[in-house]
Symmetry: C4
Subunit: 223 residues, 4 copies
């Protein structure tokens, strides 16, 4: 394990965390940008406006997936602000999370193609199921890093840590609800997925969720 | 909200802004690079030169979109130089802007495919309409950050701030003119779009637009 | 060659290494994210669940390639932590390694398309052969950098260097075993490839392989 | 123009250059990685090995383009090491250079598809013509930055500057030779293009071209 060698000057561990962050950010940025490639252009359409409106499942799937990946990035961002070192196990867990993030592209394209067909249930199950697994792997990442403050920086606020643990616990449950709903009624599952994306955005916008980085104890570095 | 915790050493907020900038730059860089993938290669063409020239709408749409995204990046760059902190709401607005930037790819491909067909009006409306929305979201980002100097750094020059606010106000209007022109005569709309890209480049090249970072008050840090 | 001009302040060489690292990370991040684009969406499938399960070779090839590139990135990360300068020859070797990393995309798509066809042997030979060449070029990179500690930082631990040299020697042999196995029995070759990916992940997870960055001599910078 | 505000602490201009470098690196990294997507996978081939060998033009075009973009990146790297500030005009020129770098993808795919057809001449003219324009825009970038040392750092060695100016002058001529050769005999044009890529790599490997960053005056910062 990478021990904290940074108490005095912090250089090596910081550079390492920086590279891990940059790599993760790169994967997030690419995965989120590639989503658009999955929306097909209508071929030789004589009624383009009409055909574009017909593609609403593509645009909806695109928008939901974009928001989900963006929220995942914001969360990743929040976790990384609290940790200041890494070990190989964390690297692998982070790698698996990134694999799942890049994978989101596939169910998004699947949903876009099949939402208005007889196979919409299967597509929606794969779509929401992917988000369940992503949310679970996010929990694994956080739990591994925060267990006994394994990788957390000394200045990480205990209240904030507890608030994050509480909040992350709900993620998989919510996406699991969307997954179960797909068995019952596909539009309900979509509504839950879209609702979650909007909810997280608005909830974040309110700024009263106790998860804001604000309460982070101001580092009183008298130098 | 992320309070300014950086007066003494500036570290945490700076690292955070750095990561936000890097993520945004990544999305801009990928979105601008993916544009080329939308220009199709002629299939088994017996007259390749001729067929390539026939694809001029693809190349034109590619060049205009590249310049628009590049100008958006330069503007993003300029805004981020004036702010020194972020909050969750800003993160979300920036996320929506990035979603629109990645979306530019789609209308670009649409215009490339339909500019010389009977559906050129629809394609051009989607294309110019996208730019209107991008420009509006850019204004939202700037207005949110600059309102009461919410996220601006103390050293940000008031004159420069006012000049940016004035300049950004015109963006949506210009793109809206291209949007309206598409109803009247599609080539006019293209000419406006291309003209805007060239105008911003040349206007930028002139260096007399009052928006240059030059007037930024030199930080007199006596240390 | 870029001499070490950084003893006193370290700035120029560090900035240069940072840019090389960032460029390499970018290529790794993009190559790993593009993999998902190669898994085709079933077209108008009336039995989507069944057709998705039929695509298991695509998902398997995707997962193995993702893990291989991730492990390569972790190794690249480890090598770059030990070196603190670069020269043009190193830049070119690193460039060739990056070319091979981006190339992995192609045999992955090939294997996905041909694993359940009569051409599976050829696809598997190209797939495993690519990994042999990647592993060889990784060795070249390391050997060039570590020969007479050419590009290594002064603080790089000799024991760690020796351990890396030993470990890297096995990589090409392992992938060569998968290559040879493809001649005998294709499933065996796949099993070796998948096993290697899991083995490296688990072995890394154990943390007892002597390759952990931990033993790195703590920089005792009394300042 | 961004004046040098960095004499005392160097912060603002350095952060700005860092972001410009990072954006450029991102575009280079993505453009170089996307090249692989243009090599098509044979469809339902009954003789995969044979069909893959038949695709040699794709692999050749891929390898040459990868090396050309890599060399351009190394050059970009070298130029940016000598400059320490930017202005809007430089930003635009750099943007045009980046547009051309991303464009390389298109003629590469074109050459891959048409090298063994009756249209090989047209494809080769577009391919080599693109490199002429890229090399010219690189010269423009360098000439703009180095004219009267406009954007160069004070510590930039005059001999190195002169050596770069000499070396860059040959780039467009060489690629122009490949362009002209395409009119005469396409294989000759390919040979020149491939030879140039190898030559620059080997010439770089030799380390005796006077362009190595080595002669850069060691910054004697007594601190």
């Amino acid at each position: 394990m990478v021990r904290r060698v940074n108490p005095p000057d912090g250089e090596p561990s910081e550079r390492e965390m920086g590279r891990l962050e940059a790599f993760s950010d790169g994967v997030f940025a690419i995965a989120i940008t590639l989503l658009i490639l999955e929306i097909a252009i209508p071929l030789d359409s004589p009624h383009l406006g009409h055909d574009l409106l017909d593609r609403w499942p593509s645009f909806l799937a695109y928008a939901i997936s974009f928001m989900v990946i963006l929220i995942m990035w914001v969360n990743h961002h929040m976790v990384f602000k609290l940790i200041d070192r890494s070990d190989r196990r964390f690297l692998i867990i982070n790698g698996i999370l990134l694999m799942l993030i890049t994978f989101v592209n596939y169910p998004t394209a699947l949903l876009a193609d099949y939402l208005t067909t007889s196979q919409s249930r299967t597509a929606m199950l794969v779509y929401s199921g992917t988000f369940v697994v992503v949310a679970l792997s996010f929990n694994l990442l956080w739990r591994y890093a925060s267990y006994n403050r394994r990788l957390l920086s000394d200045s990480a606020d205990p209240d904030l840590i507890a608030a994050i643990s509480r909040a992350f616990r709900f993620g998989p449950l919510m996406y699991f609800a969307a997954f179960v709903a797909a068995f019952v009624y596909v539009p309900l599952s979509i509504a839950i997925s879209a609702g979650l994306a909007i909810y997280y955005a608005v909830y974040g916008l309110r700024g009263d969720n106790g998860l804001e980085p604000e309460p982070e104890p101001a580092p009183v570095t008298s130098e």
